[in-house]
């Protein structure tokens, strides 16, 4: 038995019928050209599948597509705005925060969540904020630096905005 769902992803509405057991991550990845969200495990440990669901980071393998009915999802493909990379994307690039890139979309959204709740974290807070996301390549060091740089850029932007 399939049930109808409609989920807004990166500003576009996707309506379809899904099996109730279908994971949100599979729903997303089965759409054309939305394979940036990764699956790295089957026990909700790795965080590679992290996306924003109504602005909050979730591991999309822990959520059924039907649970996301009516929600707004942002995936890595939707993070850059008007052709401009998000400060987190830019910072991961600047600070060599990725190697194979497989963990990166999830890392970026976990970092996004961290900065949303704690805009000016210490390195230690960054490390704690990312403990639910695994990376086998970088040893995390440059990921921490990337998040630090993104925080600085975003804070500077906010201040600019405040003054302007």
């Amino acid at each position: 038995m399939k049930v109808p769902v409609s989920i807004q992803i990166n500003g576009r509405l996707y309506e379809s019928e899904v099996e109730p057991r279908k994971l949100l991550v599979h729903f997303i990845r089965d759409l054309d050209n939305l394979t940036g969200t990764k699956v790295g495990c089957d026990t909700s440990q790795c965080g590679a599948c992290t996306v924003l669901l109504d602005g909050v980071a979730v591991k999309s393998c822990t959520c059924l597509a039907v649970q996301a009915d009516g929600a707004e999802v942002t995936t890595i493909e939707g993070l850059a705005q008007n052709g401009e990379l998000h400060p987190l994307q830019e910072a991961f690039w600047n600070k060599h925060g990725l190697q194979c890139g497989f963990c990166t979309p999830g890392m970026i959204f976990a970092s996004h969540e961290l900065l949303r709740t704690n805009p000016d974290p210490t390195d230690e807070e960054i490390r704690h904020g990312l403990e639910g996301n695994l990376c086998r390549c970088t040893g995390y060091q440059n990921i921490v630096r990337s998040v630090r740089e993104a925080a600085d850029i975003m804070n500077a932007d906010t201040q600019d905005g405040g003054e302007g």
């Binding site: 990845r29 890595i76 990379l85 890139g101 390195d123 996301n133 990376c135 086998r136 440059n142």
Partner: protein, 783 residues
């Protein structure tokens, strides 16, 4: 530009596609009409298969086919190993892609289902009824060789896959005359590589033409093509292997696996594109593991700390079958590095490779060298303890002095260049070693247990001369190739045979070309991973891509430059000898402002309106580079830990790495490799272990049970370097991919044991979990 671009930490060319979700990994590929395969894997470590009933599964919704071993038996040749190690009595057991009569490890494939969707394929797995007759199992490498152990393969007695020996000098005399002997039994526990992308394959077989395109998570697409051809019978010229974006490998994507051949088989039978993607739990069972040594080691020395001999016996678990490169890992890549950075006059090692009821073992980051470095560096610390000498001092007394052009060691290798004392000095200096020792003494007075751990290392990289490959039984070459093609506008395409998968060679290779011929790295695109549009190459492993592929590329760029000079001389109406070159500009000596740029020359060579007589059109060159020797990167690492005796908790306070990989093309990328490698090695020391129970069940079968390094448990790693170029390499580079892992496990281990020394603990099995450390303290009765 050229003078600055080599050695500059420019941002990676790879990253824009990776940070935007624009990169396509194997599982991201969808083809029209594609169907999905799922593997039924054995839940038993060892069992006879009495019956496989696929009827219910075959009738399930969406299922196109179910194939047990009887269907693939004739269609697929046995899975080969590619390292037929000579002088080792190597016994290669038949390795069927799908097991038909017997399963030999949890994860052995018993049948495959192909269905319209992945969910349907997995549903149908549950409907396959298999009658197993369980047999006793053995997973421990040493126990497997004992007389009453369960036997895995008919005709292979004692489960012995190989017995290999390396010896040099008079080892018996060394021990007979030794003033001090220290011994240790070390278990290099089994590890699970855990590349974040699991393995996957997409096979598209066209029945009309007999052609196969095969997308695969591989570190070596050209080897994969060769082996897929041998197993499936599809001629190599009709077989195209593509390694698209690959999400890490660490050795686990070297092998060509049963599931790969089975996926191809399904596409051939059904005439549909077939995708198979491993789940993580499946990855834990079926993708190769690493390490798994039991080592008995002893070291002979004089009273003043001079090492005179090293003798060891190693039992290396190889798993149920021999994976692609398996026989060479605990032998060639391990035993030949026994003497490390020290002048040791006598060594001997016996390696027994054992079949066990466990996942096949392959190269895993460092592959044999971390296991060798660990033995030696652990025993050097034990020697220091025994002699009550400082471990740094013992090392100093034994280091090979600086050499620039070759040093023969007792195992028969010739190291290329090294300055081990300089690396150690830099490390101790940066760490403030004497100060650290003082702090440690003070802490002990306060009842706190600080530990300082050291390791020096040298590794063998840049594999390697092909002649040597042949002599040691590697069933392939070990050269690399590169093509550089200039387009009329001066933009450049580079095609390489190697297959980077996270290491950033699209960037560093562009830097090599840029620095050699003066184009902007932005103008260089590097293509790799597709056997149809890249020249042959032997793959990315053993820290060889930059060391060997980079050499091929540098030499190719120099050919381009030579040709460009000839064209420039013609255009400038001068003799070739009178042409000077600087930063992409070719000019008559003394007149740089009236030169021809490399772009001018590329345009002329491509339109070919006015070329020198006898010079071909186009600006393109290629090189097949076979290195004259291996490269030998080296370094020295230090860790500071604090151990809490009440809980057994180990806190890693500091980690310092000094590595020498020769000149660094891109120091940011080099540091990234060091970070990742160091953390992987720390994982082995402190957290990671693949555990099998007595019946051969993989107890650490998911990411919930296998402890991976996490961001919050690590200190900032302090990365330093020295630079000792390889004398035989066109740009002097040596390789850095594995260095961190080779040094860090024993560095951290030594630090923890140093902390525990006053408590009377001198050995704890890895990983050094709080429980184990706590128990060791209790048993020693020291606190």
């Amino acid at each position: 530009m050229s003078s600055k671009i080599f050695g500059s930490g420019i941002r990676r060319r790879e990253d824009p596609r990776l940070v935007t979700g624009g990169a396509a990994y194997t599982d991201d590929i969808t083809l029209p009409g594609m169907v999905y395969a799922a593997m039924l894997r054995s839940p038993h470590a060892h069992a006879r298969i009495d019956d496989v009933d696929v009827s219910a599964a075959a009738a399930a919704e969406g299922v196109l086919a179910v194939y047990p071993g009887a269907d693939t038996e004739d269609a697929l040749q046995p899975v080969p190993t590619a390292w037929l190690l000579p002088d080792s009595d190597l016994q290669v057991a038949p390795y069927p892609a799908i097991a038909k009569d017997t399963v030999r490890y949890v994860g052995d494939i018993v049948a495959v289902v192909v269905a319209e969707s992945r969910y349907q394929a997995y549903d149908a797995l549950d409907l396959i009824a298999v009658d197993y007759d369980p047999l006793p199992a053995v997973t421990h490498p040493q126990q497997a060789t004992e007389p009453d152990a369960p036997q895995l393969h008919e005709g292979i007695s004692g489960n012995q896959a190989l017995h290999w020996t390396v010896a040099g000098g008079d080892i018996d005399a060394a021990f007979a005359d030794a003033e001090v002997v220290v011994k240790e039994r070390i278990v290099q526990q089994r590890l699970i590589p855990n590349a974040m992308e699991t393995r996957a394959a997409v096979a598209q077989y066209r029945q009309a033409s007999g052609e196969l395109t095969f997308w695969n998570t591989t570190q070596n697409p050209h080897i994969a093509r060769f082996i897929c051809s041998a197993v499936t019978g599809i001629p190599e010229d009709r077989l195209r292997v593509i390694a698209p974006e690959v999400g890490g490998g660490f050795g686990s994507k070297i092998a060509v696996y049963p599931a790969d051949f089975v996926t191809i088989f399904c596409s051939m039978r059904l005439g549909r594109p077939v995708k198979w993607t491993e789940t993580r739990s499946e990855n834990y069972q079926a993708t190769t593991h690493g390490r798994d040594h039991v080592q008995e080691v002893e070291l002979a020395a004089t009273k003043d700390g001079k090492i005179t001999g090293l003798r060891c016996t190693v039992w290396a678990g190889l798993g149920a079958y021999l994976s692609t490169a398996a026989p060479g890992i605990p032998t060639i890549l391990h035993g030949l590095m026994l003497s490390g950075v020290y002048d040791i006059p006598a060594v001997k090692e016996d390696v027994f490779g054992a079949y066990t009821n466990a996942t096949p073992v392959e190269a895993y980051r460092g592959a044999g060298r971390p296991e060798a470095t660990f033995m030696l560096e652990r025993l050097v610390d034990k020697l220091a303890n025994e002699l009550e000498m400082d471990p740094a001092e013992v090392r100093r007394r034994n280091l090979i002095p600086r050499f620039e052009d070759g040093h023969d060691v007792i195992t028969g290798l010739t190291y290329d260049s090294g300055d081990y004392p300089a690396a150690l000095d830099k490390l101790l200096d940066h760490a403030g070693y004497d100060d650290l020792r003082r702090q440690q003494a003070e802490a002990r007075n306060e009842g706190r247990y600080l530990g300082i751990g050291l390791s020096t290392y040298v590794e063998i990289c840049g594999l390697g001369p092909s002649q040597v490959a042949g002599a040691i039984g590697f069933q392939g070459g070990l050269w690399e190739s590169a093509i550089i093609r200039f387009h009329p506008s001066g933009k450049v395409h580079v095609f390489i045979g190697a297959s980077p998968h996270g290491q950033g060679e699209e960037t560093t290779f562009a830097q090599i070309v840029a620095s050699e011929v003066g184009v902007s790295p932005e103008d260089v695109r590097v293509f790799h991973g597709d056997t149809d549009n890249t020249p042959m190459g032997w793959g990315t492993y053993g820290s060889r891509t930059t060391a060997v592929g980079g050499a091929a590329l540098a030499l190719t760029a120099r050919k381009i430059k030579e040709k460009a000079k000839i064209v420039a001389a013609h255009l400038l109406e001068a003799a070739v000898e009178d042409i000077d070159y600087e930063d992409g500009n070719f000019f008559v000596k003394g007149s740089p402002d009236r030169g021809k740029t490399i772009q001018d020359i590329a345009l002329m060579a491509n339109v070919s309106w006015d070329m020198p007589e006898g010079v071909e059109s186009g600006l393109e060159a290629s090189t097949f580079y076979d290195p004259p020797n291996f490269t030998f990167p080296f370094g020295a690492h230090l860790a500071v830990v604090e151990v809490h005796p009440q809980t057994g908790q180990v806190k890693l306070e500091r980690y310092i790495a000094v590595d020498d990989c020769g000149p660094q093309i891109n120091p940011v990328i080099v540091a990234g490799q060091v970070h990742g490698g160091v953390v992987q090695g720390i994982g082995q020391a402190l957290w990671e272990e693949a555990v099998y129970d007595d019946s051969g069940q993989l107890v650490t079968g998911t990411m919930l049970d296998y402890a991976m390094p996490r961001a919050d448990r690590l200190p900032e790693i302090e990365v330093l370097s020295t630079v000792t170029p390889s004398p035989h390499h066109p740009i002097g580079v040596k390789g850095i991919g594995e260095a961190g892992t080779i040094a860090s496990t024993v560095t951290v281990y030594n630090a923890v044991l140093d902390a525990l020394q006053p408590l009377g603990v001198d050995s704890v099995a890895m990983p050094l979990t709080p429980e184990r450390v706590w128990r060791a303290i209790q048993e020693s009765g020291g606190d």
